[in-house]
């Protein structure tokens, strides 16, 4: 299994190549014998992407963990796929640099896994997700071919194959060498905690900050259930237990005066939006403590029950207050403990459900509630995953946001990279829901979650259109 507790699979064979050459030899051998395989990094994925079935081989990349080049002058590094995210940032630090994407799993997850999932993290609000930080990729395709995509400066050789590969969840091949952009470390950082009486007011405070044109480095929210879990754990951060929600806001920059001025502006906005109190971390130790609660929140929730489903969805920021209330209602209706800890600034929700997977009835309720939460987010104009990927967990939701034609297009692109669909089979695109890409074309417009506004802008006027199934 990976970080998703609901699925388990057993591969026929697990291989841990120790060098790039070994890896290439293994993949070419598998190609010669037509054997499917699944690349795997640290296995922290939360959508079942790194699971391999019987009949396929799991290729674990964690031994390919060398930083091949640290080019501080050009703010870039070249790494093998198994390098752990936090180790890269640690190696960059002496040069005054960091690798900006910082998933909460950064002490374990690999850069290869980050590339495959287009991973985000708390600081992606300001700095962008993995896709914004990958300059070039060396790829090993399923048939054993090597591809050099991107260039050291980031400009593609033609179409942007790097951009296409990032987020392809191991379906296009293996990233064997990764050139990433490094970012100067901020020189000034201010972190503050604001607490609220209601989820709605906290959501509104998020909107107020964004509307003011300030881009915090991070803008994270935790609800009462999450606060309680954190405060009961060894990661207790001093979050007020009676708050309905807390916001953790961080501002950073290269210019102390600018950061101080923006911090004051944000504190004022938070108060005006109904924060009960706003606490600005007075020391590095206090800042770290505030962050520790957030970064270890998933771990802390682990104490609530035997299993935890970490959900992932995105809604437009302005829909946060309403969606959070609906999620609360859903949790009550299914009698489940749902804790929210998420990247509020991006509208990227993580409603996490605590449960015991050995209880089949409970498991069913969890599935049903998850599905309802997804529908709620889609109805609000959102999407089914903002950073954890589709894997196998979210296959069933893909037809809710993409029409058969668009799913077919994805499948067709996958076949350009891997005609036999041997690498990481059965993930991301629900094959049964695709329109066959070689059949007669048809014109069908629009996202399933389009609202009236869109429909009226694009009247579906021609007879070739088929009804949405």
């Amino acid at each position: 299994m990976d970080g998703l507790p609901t699925h388990r699979r057993l591969p026929d064979l697990v291989v841990l190549p120790g060098t790039r050459e070994e890896l290439i030899a293994v993949v070419r051998l598998l190609a010669a014998h037509d054997v499917p395989f699944v690349p795997r990094g640290a296995g922290t994925g939360l959508s079942g992407g790194a699971l391999a079935d019987e009949g396929s081989v799991l290729i674990v990349l964690t031994r390919l963990n060398r930083i091949l080049k640290m080019d501080a002058g050009n703010r870039a590094a070249i790494v093998e796929p198994g390098v752990v995210n936090a180790k890269l940032s640690a190696a960059a630090q002496p040069h005054g640099l960091q690798y900006a994407p910082d998933p909460s799993s950064q002490s374990a997850c690999t850069i290869g896994g980050n590339v495959a999932e287009n991973a985000g993290g708390p600081h992606c609000l300001k700095y962008g997700v993995t896709a914004n930080h990958v300059l070039a990729l060396e790829l090993l395709l399923a048939d054993g071919t090597m591809v050099e995509s991107g260039s050291p400066g980031g400009e593609p050789w033609g179409p942007d194959l790097v951009g296409l590969f990032v987020g392809s969840e191991g379906n296009f091949g293996i990233a064997t060498k990764i050139t990433v952009r490094l970012t100067p470390l901020p020189r000034a950082v201010r972190t503050m905690l604001a607490d609220f009486n209601g989820l709605r007011t906290a959501g509104e405070a998020v909107s107020a900050i964004i509307a003011a044109g300030i881009v915090p480095a991070a803008l994270e929210m935790m609800d009462q259930s999450c606060i309680a879990a954190v405060e009961d754990s060894v990661y207790a951060a001093g979050y007020p237990r009676d708050a309905a929600a807390v916001l953790l806001v961080e501002l950073d920059g290269r210019n102390e005066a600018g950061v101080i001025a923006e911090t004051e502006a944000v504190a004022e906005l938070l108060r005006k939006s109904g924060a009960r109190s706003v606490r600005i971390a007075a020391s590095e130790a206090e800042r770290e403590r505030l962050w520790q609660g957030r970064k270890k929140a998933f771990g802390a929730m682990g104490r609530l029950s035997r299993d935890l489903v970490v959900q992932d969805a995105v809604v437009p920021r302005s829909a946060l207050p309403q969606v959070l209330e609906t999620i609360c209602t859903i949790a009550k209706r299914y009698d489940l403990v749902v804790s929210n800890v998420f990247h509020a600034g991006d509208g990227n929700l993580h409603p996490n459900i605590s449960f015991d997977a050995t209880d089949p009835a409970l498991k069913q309720r969890v599935e049903a509630a998850s599905a309802e939460i997804m529908s709620t987010c889609i109805a609000a104009g959102g999407t089914i995953t903002g950073e954890h990927g589709v894997g196998i967990d979210k296959l069933r939701y893909m037809p809710l946001i993409f029409d058969p034609e668009s799913l077919g297009a994805m499948q067709a692109v996958r076949r350009v990279f891997d005609p036999k669909e041997r690498v990481n089979p059965g993930k991301v695109v629900p094959v049964h829901a695709c329109r066959e890409w070689t059949s007669i074309r048809s014109a069908k417009f629009g996202m399933r979650n389009d609202d009236r506004q869109f429909n009226s802008a694009f009247p579906i006027s021609h007879s070739t259109l088929e009804p949405v199934p």
Binding site: D71, G73, G120, A131, L139, T145, M146, V147, E148, S149, S151, G153, G154, E155, P156, W157, G158, P159, D160, L161, G163, G167, N171, F172, P184, I210, A212, G213, V215, G253, R254, N255, A257, G258, A261, A265, V314, P316, R317, S318, G347, G382, T383, T385, G386, H388, V390, K394, I401, E405, A409, M410, V413, F417, A443, F445, G446, P459, H462, T464
Partner: protein, 402 residues
């Protein structure tokens, strides 16, 4: 029936415009569905189609049976200032889009080269970023999703309208910079910023090498300009090279950066521009790329910027150049022959620097190609993607050249 009669029957008379100077029929579908219908038919009939945006710049001169222009796809179905997102059709002019966004306090932080009326679709299709790429990244970083129509008339949507999205493969990034080779973009979901409350520009004139040094000092001092652009004298219409520094954002940050700029540039005298002067400076720069027949961009690592500028100067001349040294991006315009461009592309490939031909008359474009000098393994993938999204080769695009 002639092609024109068939198209008129299909889409109505309103979709037929005056033919181009080379007498190729020009069709302006009025909706994404009409684009799909037209391309579906073209695929079946074996027509060759060239894509135009506003047709303001790139000569619509590719050999084709008909020209498809996106100019009637000019609606803006949604602007959401609270979410900082917008959805616009591909044929909207950037100037109009900008205005409508500004009215709602929102800003699309790109400043592509070209006239103000360039279509959004063409900017996405050619991935032509301007000086703001220094602070806000390449065009692809501003896209949340696109809807496009393939060469055989399929409508495909990718991405969505929210800030983060990893549902499915990222076909949006294939379309950004695909030069229309993988379909016609009909709808774009954009990521916006709030209109900067403070936006100031400073200029420094001097020798190129000196300005490069100042640019490095500014970066080292930790300033975060929206643009830090090195511009050749002819393009800037000044005596000497110019370093343009644009600071945009909250008043607090901009004030802090202004102070930092004075400190970092030690003695060098930056000249502040008045708002209208600043506007004129950046616009002139964008439009300056309109004057000459050929434009290309190259992308190297920042530390190679000087060497690459020297190389360009040596091989083609450096009269019309604009560069973001810290982003390693250089744009050149002027007159060039097929031979010289191909030689330059080869030389650059040896340095791991791609050259993307952004615009040129068809004879040159067709021979040199927008892309070329692929690295290992890239060619077959591009060919496969082309076949996937345009199985009948209906779309006339000079991808690799002949």
């Amino acid at each position: 029936m002639t092609i024109l009669e068939k198209v008129t029957a299909l889409l109505g008379e309103g979709a037929v415009l005056e033919p181009s100077t080379d007498r190729v029929p020009r069709i302006a579908p009025g909706s994404p569905d009409a684009v799909a219908l037209l391309l579906g038919t073209a695929h079946q009939e074996g027509w060759r189609v060239r894509i135009e945006g506003a047709g303001t710049w790139l000569q619509s001169d590719a050999p084709a049976d008909l020209a498809l222009t996106t100019r009637r796809l000019d609606r803006i179905p949604a602007v959401e200032p609270a979410d900082l997102t917008a959805t616009a059709e591909a044929g909207i002019g950037l100037d109009q889009l900008r205005q409508q966004l500004a009215d709602r306090g929102a800003w699309l932080s790109i400043d592509p080269p070209g006239l103000a009326g360039r279509t959004l679709g063409s900017i996405v299709a050619t991935a032509t970023a301007g000086p703001l790429r220094h602070g806000f990244g390449p065009i692809k970083d501003h896209l949340l999703g696109v809807t496009f129509v393939t060469g055989d008339g399929r409508m495909v949507q990718s991405g969505g309208r929210v800030m983060k999205n990893v549902a499915g493969y990222d076909l949006t990034r294939l379309q950004a910079g695909g030069f229309g080779a993988f379909g016609v973009i009909v709808l774009v979901h954009l990521r916006l910023r709030t209109l900067p409350r403070a936006d100031v520009t400073y200029l420094l004139e001097g020798a190129r090498e000196d300005l490069t040094q100042v640019g490095e000092d500014i970066a080292a001092a930790g300033l975060t300009p929206a643009a830090l652009e090195l511009v050749s004298p002819a393009l800037a219409r000044r005596e000497r090279w110019v370093l343009g520094v644009r600071l945009a954002g909250s008043p607090a940050l901009v004030a802090a950066d202004e102070a930092g700029l004075r400190a970092a540039s030690g003695g060098a005298r930056f000249m502040p521009l008045r708002a209208e002067e600043a506007h004129a400076f950046w616009m002139r720069l964008a439009e300056g790329f309109a004057v000459r027949p050929v434009t290309f961009r190259i992308g190297g690592v920042p530390s190679a910027s000087d060497e690459l500028l020297d190389l360009l100067q040596h091989q083609l001349g450096d009269e019309w150049i604009s560069a973001s040294p810290a982003a390693g991006a250089i744009r050149w315009t002027g007159d060039a022959t097929i031979d010289r461009l191909q030689r330059l592309r080869r030389t650059l490939a040896g340095l791991e620097v791609p050259l993307t031909l952004e615009r040129a008359p068809w004879p040159l474009r067709g021979a040199v190609g927008h892309f070329g000098a692929y690295r290992e393994g890239v060619g077959p993938l591009v060919a496969g993607l082309r076949r996937t999204f345009d199985p009948g080769s209906a779309l006339v695009v000079a991808t690799e050249g002949s």
